[in-house]
C-alpha cells in the first residue's frame, strides 16, 4: 500500500524525527500508485501498473546538509536512514545559501484528491481506451493514444514543528488519429482531477474530425498572419514564460530583466487583456497548497491587465533582498474573454486556425523567442470562414511579443501541454502578426 492517510503519514514521520540528532532535520514521505495504457495502430501497445513509497531524510549541521533515502519501513531501517543522512551532512560542503527550516505553518486542505480517479483499475483504463477505439474503427482511421492515472500523496515534517500533507489525483488522456493514407491527422487531449469528467469517446471524435478535415492541405506562403490558437496550442506556446523568477530577472538574464538593471515588476509587459494568476483552490484545476519549503501557497497574480504584478522570491533571495518570500505557482490560470472560437473565426478576414503546436524550443531567452511547428489541423480562414486546410508551418515567435498582439480571448479551458503533460487553464486566443518562417511537409 503506497498511499498513506494524513494520520498514518504524521505518525510515521514523528517516529523518524525522534531518531534525529542533527541541528535541523526535515523528512519527506511520498507515495504514488498509478497506471497507464498506451495504444497505437488501433491496439494496445504497452501498459503498466506502478507503485512506489519513499522516505527521504535531510539532516543539517550548521549549513552542511546530507540527505538519505530508504524504501524499507521497519524501525531499524528508519533509524539507519537518519544516521546515514547525518553522516553525509558531516561530509558535505557548506551551502552558503542554506536557509534555516520553517516553523509550523497553516495550510488549507487541498482539493486535489478524487476518489473516482483513485479507484481506477487496469479494467477501467482498458474500457476508456475501448471507447476511444470505437470512434476510429468506425471512421476507418488509425488511432494512437495514451491514458494515465495517478494517485499520490506528499508529506513533510521538520524539527521546527512544521507538518504538511497533500493528496492528489490526476488522469490524462490524449489521442492522435490519422487516415490510412497518412494525409490527415488530428489530436485531442484532456486532463481531469475526476475521471468521471473524462469522455474518451467525444475527445476522439474531435480528433477524428480534425484528421478528416486536414486532408489535402495546400501550401501557402509563410509570413506574418493573424492566428487563432486553440487552447492546446496556446498552452504549449505560453508554458515557457511561466517562470516569474525574481533572481533571474535581477541578475539580468530573463525576459523580466530591465534594461540598465532591475526587474520589470510593475511595468506593462503585454496587452491589458492578459491576466495570469495561480490559485490552488481553483475547482477546475486545483493545485498543491504548499511548496517544497513548506510555504503555504495562495492565490497570486503574476500578470494583471498586462502589468507584471509579482515575481517569485525563494527564501534565500527574499532574505538577501529584504522582501517576503513569494513561492512559485502550483498551477496557472489565464483569464479569458467572451469570444467563442466560432466567433473568432467569424470575425477574421484572413488568418490561420492552429489546432496544436509541436517541438517548441527556446531560441533566445532574452526575448523568449521560440521556434516550433503547427501540427494536427492547420486551416486557412478567409472572410469569416474556414476555407481549406494548409500545410504545417514552422514559426519563430515570442509569447511576450504574441501577447502584445491580442485581438480577442475566449473562455479558459483545462488544457494539457503536449510535452510536459502539465495542465493549465488557458483560453483560445486570436493574435495579430504571428510569424511563420517556413513550410513543413509533415502531416
Amino acid at each position: 500500500m503506497s498511499i498513506l492517510s494524513k494520520e498514518e503519514a504524521q505518525a510515521l514521520l514523528k517516529k523518524v524525527l525522534s531518531y534525529s540528532k542533527a541541528d535541523e532535520c526535515e523528512i519527506g514521505l511520498s507515495g504514488r500508485e498509478g497506471g497507464n495504457i498506451r495504444y497505437a495502430l488501433n491496439a494496445v501497445s504497452t501498459a503498466g501498473d506502478i507503485s512506489t513509497l519513499t522516505l527521504s531524510v535531510s539532516s543539517t549541521f550548521g549549513k552542511k546538509t546530507g540527505t538519505a533515502t530508504i524504501n524499507e519501513f521497519d524501525d531499524a531501517a528508519l533509524e539507519r536512514v537518519v544516521r546515514r543522512a547525518e553522516e553525509l551532512a558531516q561530509l558535505a560542503p557548506e551551502n552558503r545559501e542554506y536557509m534555516p527550516l520553517l516553523g509550523p505553518q497553516t495550510f488549507a486542505e487541498s482539493i486535489e484528491y478524487n476518489a473516482n480517479t483513485a479507484a481506477m483499475t487496469p479494467e477501467s483504463r482498458a474500457e476508456l481506451v475501448a471507447k476511444s477505439l470505437e470512434v476510429t474503427k468506425q471512421a476507418n482511421l488509425i488511432a494512437a493514444g495514451f491514458l494515465e492515472n495517478s494517485n499520490g500523496f506528499n508529506a513533510i515534517m521538520n524539527s521546527k514543528g512544521l507538518f504538511a500533507y497533500n493528496k492528489a489525483s490526476n488522469v490524462i488522456f490524449s489521442v492522435t488519429t490519422r487516415n490510412q493514407a497518412g494525409t490527415g491527422s488530428g489530436y485531442a487531449a484532456r486532463g481531469f482531477t475526476d475521471v468521471k469528467k473524462l469522455d474518451t469517446n467525444s475527445a476522439t471524435r474531435v480528433a477524428a474530425m480534425k484528421a478528416s478535415s486536414s486532408v489535402d492541405a495546400k501550401a501557402i506562403e509563410p509570413g506574418k498572419y493573424t492566428v487563432i490558437l486553440e487552447p492546446v496550442a496556446a498552452t504549449y506556446m505560453m508554458e515557457s514564460m511561466f517562470r516569474f523568477d525574481a533572481r533571474m530577472a535581477e541578475e539580468g538574464r530573463s525576459f523580466l530583466s530591465k534594461k540598465g538593471g532591475g526587474t520589470r515588476m510593475g511595468e506593462k509587459l503585454v496587452d491589458d487583456k492578459v491576466t495570469i494568476y495561480s490559485d490552488p483552490f481553483n475547482t477546475d484545476l486545483p493545485g498543491a497548497t504548499w511548496d517544497r519549503d513548506g510555504l503555504p501557497l495562495e492565490k497570486t497574480y503574476w500578470i494583471q491587465n498586462g502589468v507584471v504584478k509579482n515575481l517569485s522570491y525563494s527564501r534565500y533571495w527574499a532574505e538577501k533582498k529584504g522582501v517576503k518570500p513569494v513561492p512559485g505557482p502550483s498551477n496557472i490560470i489565464m483569464e479569458g474573454g467572451d469570444s467563442s472560437l466560432e466567433e473568432m473565426i467569424k470575425n477574421t478576414e484572413r488568418g490561420i486556425l492552429v489546432s496544436r503546436l509541436w517541438y517548441i524550443r527556446m531560441v533566445d531567452p532574452q526575448s523568449l523567442l521560440l521556434t516550433g511547428l503547427t501540427r494536427d489541423g492547420t486551416y486557412y480562414i478567409e472572410n469569416g470562414k474556414i476555407k481549406f486546410p494548409v500545410k504545417n508551418f514552422r514559426f519563430n515567435e515570442s509569447p511576450v511579443i504574441m501577447l502584445n498582439n491580442v485581438e480577442a480571448l475566449g473562455k479558459p479551458e483545462r488544457s494539457i501541454s503536449v510535452e510536459s503533460y502539465r495542465s493549465y487553464m488557458i483560453p483560445p486566443m486570436k493574435l495579430r502578426d504571428f510569424t511563420f518562417s517556413s513550410l513543413s511537409d509533415a502531416v
Partner: protein
C-alpha cells in the same frame, strides 16, 4: 532530445516533491552504497520467482529487470556548491505476454512476495488489455544466453572519486570564469551507474554494470547597458566512460578557432575559452540572412544527426507506434524496400552501433536480452535499414532484433530506443582547414544550441554555440543570431564532403525523450566535420518591450 526543464510548478506529478532538487534521478544515497553490488544469486532467485509465476498464470513469455540505478550530481554556481546529490532507485519491472498482449508492472518491494505480486499485476494488465483485441505480439526468436555479464570498460569509477575532488574541480572552473570576466557561471558533474539484471523465459540471466559521465558548464556575460546577455556552454560531451574523461590529454585536443575535445576533456581550459567567447558574442556581427555553405563541427553536427537521421529511422516511428507523441517518420517500409531512396549524397554513410567504446549507448545486451551489434542504416546515401526490437523485427523481414530495446529505469517498460547512430568519416584525406579553404561564403558552426524538428522529421531548425563567418576560404570573424532551417532529405543531399577519420568525435544526448510516459535515453553520435552547400540561414534577433 528533451526540452530543458524550465517549468517549475510544484504539486503532483512530483511524487518526488519532497526529495532534494535532484529527485528526478531517484533517491538520495550515500556514496559507498553505489559501490556495492547486489549478489547475483539473490537476483537470479528473485528472477525465477517472476518467470515461474508468469508461466503458472498463463504467460507465453516473461522477462524481469532488477535495476539499481545510481546517480550523483554535483551542481555549483560562481563560488559555491548548490547541491550534492547522490541517489539510488532500486526496484523490479516485470513484462509478460498473455493472450498475445503485453502487460507490465513494477514495484520497489524487492522481495519474493513483491516480485510474485507484481508479476500477477502484469498478467492482470495483459488480460484486461487483451479484451480490446488487435494483432497478437509476434516476437523475433531469441536464444537464451544462460548466465552472462557485461561492464562498461571504465578506467576510473566516478563514484569512487571523492566528492571534494569534484567540488574542487568545479569551483576552480567557476573561479576561472569569474576571473576572466564572466557575469555568472554554473557548472556540474553528473555520474550515472546502471546496475541491471535481466532474465527471461528464453533462458537468459544477464548482469550488466553500465557507467556514464557528463561534466558541463554555462558561462553568462551580461551587458547591462544594452540590457542583453550571452551564454556559452561547454564543448564537453556526455560519455559512456568513467572519471578518466576529466583527465586532460593534449593528444585528445582538436586545435582550431577554439579547442575541442575527443576522449579526454580539459574543463578548465574550455571555461577560459568560453568566458572569452561569451564576451565576443555580445559584440559579434548579427548575421545577414540568406543561403550559406555550412561547415559543421562534430560538437554541433551530432545533434542534427540525432534529430534528422536517428529519429526518423526508428522503426516504431515508421510504423506509427509513436504517432501520439514523438510523431511518425517521413521514411516508410516502401522507401526501404525500394532500395533506391536517396536519403543523402554519396558521402553520407550512417551506421547504428551499440558497441562503440566510450559511447553512451554501448551495452553488451539490450533490455530484452538481445546481444548488441553494428549495422548500416544509410549506405552511400541510400536508406538500407532501420532500428528494430523483437516485436517489430519480423515486420521488416528481419529474423532477429537489432538490440535497440531500452527502459530508463526499472519502473518504466522497455521499448525501441535509438542506438548510437553515426556518420562515417570521409574516405578521402581531408582536414577541416582544407575544407574551409574551399568555401566562398559560409558559416562555421561549433557546439549545439536550440533545436526543433517536425513530427515526421522533414523541417528542422538548429542554432549553435559559436558561429564564424567564412569568406573566400578564410574565417573572417564571429557572427551571432544564427540559425539554419532545412528539409532533412535536401540537407543530407547537400552534404558535399566529410572530413577524414582524424577529425572523428562523439557528441551525445544524456536525455533523449520518447514514449508515453516519457522516458530518457542516453545516446552518442559520431562524425567528422562536414560541409553542406546552400543552406538557408535566418537571423534570430528580436526585441521585446
Amino acid at each position: 532530445m528533451k526540452r530543458r526543464n524550465f517549468i517549475y510548478l510544484s504539486g503532483i506529478g512530483a511524487g518526488a516533491l519532497m526529495l532534494p532538487e535532484l529527485s528526478v534521478f531517484g533517491n538520495p544515497i550515500e556514496q559507498e552504497q553505489a559501490l556495492e553490488q547486489v549478489d547475483v544469486r539473490i537476483k537470479k532467485e528473485l528472477a525465477d520467482v517472476a518467470l515461474n509465476t508468469a508461466k503458472s498464470k498463463g504467460a507465453s513469455y516473461a522477462d524481469i529487470r532488477i535495476g539499481r540505478y545510481f546517480s550523483q550530481a554535483i551542481i555549483t554556481r560562481e563560488n559555491h556548491v548548490q547541491n550534492v546529490g547522490s541517489s539510488e532507485s532500486y526496484g523490479i519491472g516485470v513484462r509478460v505476454i498473455v493472450n498475445g498482449c503485453w502487460g507490465f508492472a513494477a514495484t520497489n518491494n524487492v522481495t519474493k512476495e513483491g516480485v510474485a505480486k507484481t508479476t500477477e499485476n502484469a498478467v492482470a494488465v495483459a488480460k484486461a488489455n487483451s479484451k480490446i483485441g488487435g494483432k497478437p505480439v509476434d516476437l523475433a526468436p531469441q536464444k537464451g544466453y544462460g548466465e552472462v555479464s557485461w561492464k562498461t570498460p571504465i578506467e576510473k569509477n566516478a563514484f569512487e572519486v571523492p566528492v571534494k575532488e569534484k567540488v574542487d574541480l568545479l569551483l576552480s572552473v567557476n573561479g576561472a570564469a569569474m576571473t576572466g570576466g564572466a557575469s555568472f557561471v554554473s557548472s556540474r558533474i553528473l555520474a550515472i551507474n546502471e546496475q541491471k539484471y535481466f532474465a527471461s523465459t528464453d533462458g537468459s540471466y544477464i548482469d550488466q554494470d553500465i557507467h556514464r559521465l557528463y561534466p558541463s558548464f554555462d558561462v553568462t556575460k551580461i551587458d547591462k547597458t544594452l540590457g542583453g546577455f550571452e551564454t556559452r556552454a561547454s564543448l564537453s560531451s556526455p560519455v559512456g566512460m568513467g572519471y578518466e574523461y576529466l583527465i586532460p590529454s593534449e593528444s585528445e585536443k582538436v586545435q582550431g578557432v577554439v579547442t575541442r575535445y575527443k576522449n579526454r576533456y580539459d574543463m578548465l581550459e574550455d571555461v577560459k575559452n568560453a568566458t572569452k567567447n561569451a564576451a565576443e558574442k555580445i559584440t559579434a556581427k548579427s548575421v545577414e540572412p540568406g543561403k550559406y555553405d555550412l561547415v559543421l563541427d562534430p560538437s554541433h553536427l551530432w545533434l542534427t544527426i540525432h534529430e534528422s537521421v536517428a529519429h526518423p529511422t526508428e522503426l516504431d516511428r515508421v510504423l506509427g507506434y509513436e504517432a501520439n507523441y514523438a510523431g511518425t517518420s517521413f521514411l516508410s517500409i516502401d522507401k526501404l524496400k525500394s532500395g533506391n531512396f536517396h536519403f543523402g549524397s554519396k558521402n553520407v554513410n550512417i551506421v547504428g552501433d551499440k558497441l562503440q567504446t566510450g559511447s553512451l549507448g554501448a551495452v553488451g545486451y539490450d533490455d530484452e536480452g538481445v546481444k548488441c551489434g553494428k549495422w548500416d542504416i544509410i549506405k552511400d546515401g541510400v536508406l538500407v535499414n532501420f532500428q528494430a526490437i523483437r516485436d517489430q523485427a519480423k515486420m521488416i523481414g528481419l529474423n532477429a532484433s537489432q538490440g535497440c530495446c531500452y527502459a530508463q529505469s526499472w519502473d518504466d517498460v522497455q521499448f525501441q530506443r535509438m542506438p548510437n547512430v553515426s556518420l562515417q568519416p570521409g574516405k578521402t584525406p581531408l582536414s577541416v582547414d582544407e575544407m574551409i579553404k574551399g568555401v566562398e561564403k559560409g558559416v562555421y558552426i561549433i557546439g549545439n544550441g536550440s533545436f526543433s524538428i517536425d513530427q515526421q522529421r522533414y523541417n528542422f531548425q538548429f542554432g549553435g554555440q559559436l558561429f564564424y563567418e567564412i569568406k573566400e576560404g578564410k574565417i573572417v570573424g564571429m557572427l551571432n543570431d544564427v540559425a539554419y532551417q532545412a528539409n532533412t532529405q535536401e540537407f543530407w543531399n547537400s552534404c558535399v564532403a566529410v572530413c577524414d577519420e582524424r577529425d572523428y568525435r562523439l557528441g551525445g544526448a544524456f536525455n533523449d525523450g520518447k514514449g508515453q510516459p516519457s522516458q530518457s535515453n542516453a545516446v552518442s553520435h559520431g562524425t567528422s566535420t562536414a560541409r553542406f552547400n546552400g543552406v538557408n540561414v535566418i537571423n534570430t534577433k528580436r526585441r521585446i518591450g
